[in-house]
């Protein structure tokens, strides 16, 4: 085995060599494959063949290979790559690892991501910064579910270049027929998920065929060998440069009163002093005065550079703002359709607020229940109530203020975001904005206060008070219970106040005199109002016989939140049912002030919902009420 052999130019003319190497570009790529596809071996082989392995590393590798290797006495290249002690014991890689190597033409950063089922998260992480993905297929096994999953994820994350490396060709006698069949099968699948183009290469990572040098064993293959291909594909940064100028402001540099610079990394486009720019979201305009660096002012800066700009005018601009070309600025919005990848063991809680970080903006965001989840093995869409670890789905997102964005397909910097749990601070998900559902009404920054609206927004609903009124035994509680069950099933946050939980606690000091009945309703109204302030949908089931008290409760709430539901059962019918035997007792004079018998009931004149229980079953009534509530649901939530 031979270790690192330096380039002849290094010895003969170091300055010429360094000059050459300073001009190199950078390609970031990702390797993905299943546990046994030989991914680590391929990377080890690339490091080895591109002379990145030193003598001491080689001797350590030879020792390790004999001790824990899986290749008998031969060198196990995978050991070069598998890092953590824990994974060496398991014989598999468990996280994203980054490797570096360089050739005459390029420097490479390789993200190595594990292939097994539960690690969609790692692959998405590695894919987010990659210009290219190498999808490994074991020639003996062909296109597997994992192959499809990796390709789908690479495509989802917007990787432009896909390489299908059919590995272990040595184990199938370098059979062209097998290779062609695998490529045909892959092409059919690729087309079905919208992959336009890919490059297929038959290789053996273990033996080195077609990795860095052309294989004599496969004269039938005329395409590029892997390394040649990696050295020549176009890098993303070059493509971003021709787009309109955008720079998210990271930090305002204000060392003294005379200098005010805006520091950031240029997401796309080119900028020169004198260029007209617009600050988003305020929309104010100015022109670029200087591009300041420690090595002197620059005449031009391009996508991918970190710069400090000064503007010709004193205008408001701070972290989170985006400086953009004046005539083609990005938009701001506060509602989006997004594709999400869930990365936390605790599942997504629709309606709960998370921190959303996009570019240099961090806002509070509520994710609504997913529209559907995507099975990464079959690409099938299935309805979903939530997303668990490694799930992918599409959902609407509502932010608490407008954010400046572009669809992910146009800009990874202004369309890719992470979600952060507000309590644990963990990064729980990542997402890609597909499009805005409406433009932001109010794009001004606001102090985050826990308002009535904030409570409701966090629950993904609008507060309601569903006030059931009707005679004793009319069916109020029965219907209210059914309504609450349906709301609960819809993921709504509700609470039912009825005789059982009020009369025995809060109001146990009250009797049934008219005065006590009024106080009873007043207290229930106040409690219900507080609960709607907390964002809940409150249901109350009390006879509440007097119009004045019901009107008083109505007046406590904002317009449109109070729903009077008249459970209309004629007294004859209620008395015939007499579920609790109360009418009998009342007729016998054992209960004083009994509504409908010894105390009046004032039916609502214009209830929001009128239920005639002689024509409607409780189930139908509940259905009708939920429909009415959801029907007037604001389309914004």
């Amino acid at each position: 085995m031979t270790a690192y052999r330096p380039d002849a130019l290094i010895a003969s003319d170091i300055s010429a060599y360094l000059e050459l190497h300073q001009r190199k570009s950078l390609l970031r790529f990702l390797t993905c494959g299943s546990v046994d596809d030989g991914k680590s071996t391929l990377i080890g082989r690339l490091l080895y063949d591109s002379k990145q392995i030193f003598e001491d590393q080689l001797s350590a590798l030879e020792n390790d290979s004999r001790r824990v290797g899986t290749q008998g006495q031969a060198i196990d290249f995978a050991l070069l790559v598998d890092g953590l002690a824990a994974e060496r014991e398991q014989g598999i890689t468990i996280d994203v690892a980054y490797r570096f190597f360089a050739t005459e033409k390029r420097k490479f950063i390789v993200a190595d991501t594990p292939g097994h089922e539960q690690y969609t998260r790692n692959m998405v992480t590695g894919a987010s910064t990659a210009d290219l993905a190498v999808i490994l297929i074991d020639a003996r096994k062909g296109v597997l579910a994992q192959t499809k999953r990796h390709s789908f994820l690479a495509h989802l994350l917007g990787i432009r270049h896909l390489v299908v490396a059919v590995n272990k060709m040595d184990l199938i006698d370098y059979d062209q027929g097998v290779f062609d069949r695998i490529v045909d099968a892959y092409a059919e699948f690729a087309q079905s998920i919208g992959i336009q183009d890919f490059t297929a290469i038959p290789i053996s990572g273990f033996r080195g065929d077609n990795v860095t040098t052309r294989s004599d064993a496969m004269p039938w293959f005329t395409g590029p060998v892997l390394l040649d291909h990696l050295e020549t594909v176009e890098v993303d940064a070059e493509i971003d440069r021709i787009k309109p100028f955008r720079m998210p402001v990271q930090w305002v540099n204000r060392p003294n009163l005379d200098f005010r610079g805006f520091a950031g990394l240029i997401a796309s486009g080119t900028v020169r002093p004198g260029d007209p720019v617009r600050i988003l979201p305020s929309g104010r305009t100015s022109t670029v005065a200087r591009i300041v660096t420690m090595n002197g002012d620059k005449d031009v800066a391009v996508a991918g550079e970190s710069v400090t700009l000064t503007l010709a005018d004193e205008i408001d601009c701070s972290r989170g703002d985006v400086i953009a070309t004046a005539d083609a600025p990005p938009q701001a919005a506060d509602q989006f359709k997004a594709t999400l990848v869930w990365m936390d063991p605790a599942e997504l809680l629709p309606g709960r607020a998370y921190w959303l970080k996009l570019g240099t903006q961090t806002v509070s965001a509520v994710i609504r229940a997913p529209e559907y989840a995507i099975d990464v093995n079959t690409m099938a869409r299935a309805p979903a109530k939530t997303l668990a670890l490694n799930d992918i789905g599409v959902a609407e997102i509502v932010t608490d203020r407008g954010i400046v964005f572009e669809p992910y397909a146009e800009s990874h910097d202004l369309g890719g975001f992470i979600l952060i749990d507000k309590l644990t601070n963990a990064t729980v998900g990542a997402g890609m904005l597909d499009f805005a559902l409406r433009r932001a009404q109010n794009v001004h920054w606001q102090a985050v206060e826990i308002t009535r609206e904030a409570h409701a927004q966090q629950k993904g609903q609008q507060p309601r008070l569903l006030w059931f009124t009707g005679l004793s035994g009319s069916g109020k509680s029965t219907i209210a219970n059914l309504v609450e069950k349906k709301l609960h099933a819809l993921g709504k946050h509700s609470f039912l106040l009825d005789g059982d939980n009020i009369r025995h606690g809060l109001n146990r000091d009250l009797g049934f005199s008219d005065q006590d009945r009024v106080e009873n309703i007043r207290r229930i109204g106040e409690v219900a109002k507080l609960m709607t302030d907390a964002g809940l949908i409150v249901l109350t089931a009390f006879i509440s016989p007097f119009r004045a008290e019901r009107a008083m409760v109505r007046s406590l709430l904002p317009d449109g939140e109070f729903f009077e539901i008249f459970v209309d059962t004629p007294i004859e019918e209620a008395e015939r049912r007499d579920v609790k035997g109360l009418y009998k007792k009342a007729r016998a004079g054992e209960i004083a002030n009994f509504t409908g018998i010894s105390s009046p009931y004032e039916p609502p004149r214009a209830p929001e919902i009128h239920i005639d229980t002689t024509r409607t079953t409780p189930e139908e009534a509940a259905e009708q009420i939920v429909e009415a509530i959801m029907g007037v649901w604001s389309p914004t939530l």
């Binding site: 570009s25 030193f54 204000r254 992470i418």
Partner: protein, 312 residues
Amino acid sequence: MLQMSAMDSATASPSPLTHLQRLEAESIHILREVVAEAERPVMLYSIGKDSAVMLHLARKAFFPAPPPFPLLHVDTTWKFKAMYELRERSAAAAGMELLVHRNPEAIARGINPFDHGGLHTDLWKTEGLKQALDKYGFDAAFGGARRDEEKSRAKERIFSFRTASHRWDPKNQRPELWRLYNARKAKGESIRVFPLSNWTELDIWQYILAEKIEIVPLYFAAPRPTVERDGMLLMVDDDRFRLHPGEVPVERSIRFRTLGCYPLTGAVESTADTLESVIQEMLLTTTSERQGRAIDHDQAASMEKKKQEGYF
């Protein structure tokens, strides 16, 4: 001297960014994110070449302001004299406050590399670092580690989360996507941030050359007093060096590929006294960089273990 034309001053139609320009932009972006999001950042400054590059990047990131955080040197009292000299000069040139922390317990117990072996690193560096971070209440600390140095570093995040007791949990790291870093943490917890994660040793040298960054002269060959022990060439930097009976320092032309506590740092015999010739030698050599550091010589997983315990 080589010049990076596109990096220094602009041209009318800029050429594609080189790998060094992309690395520089990424590191500056990381430095600024931390300053924007952390309450009390600090830069750990070890005076080596990686620290020199990191400090230079910080100066560029915040120019014309000085970097808005202090430098912290967790001292062991056993560094090379030349390192202490550059430390003061670099901090002054950057206009930054320099904090030096020496573990009082290690001082009191007279911990030294001759008598105490692993305890030396543990008390001065690992414990010293924790003490300093706790003492000043820093919630984010920049370190100059690179992923190409060592296998366990290859999978560490750029923003690496530490518990309130400074422990690193390799199985519970936050995913890092795109250019988005999550710097949120609970009170008492902190993050280590590695702006040079994606740099290689060659990148570091090329950047030092292109940007004319001052580094400790020990990286360049010169005649120095040395002794040979266990296959390592050690420099006798002051009279605290304990010579074995019969051992006499010999003057050799040496330089260092990495710098630490002088009794623990092996030199290489060399005549390379310019940056170009150092790089040339580095590229022609056949052993990897960390071989000169005694700390890594035990089992392969040693660094990972040290890191879980809080070593940088």
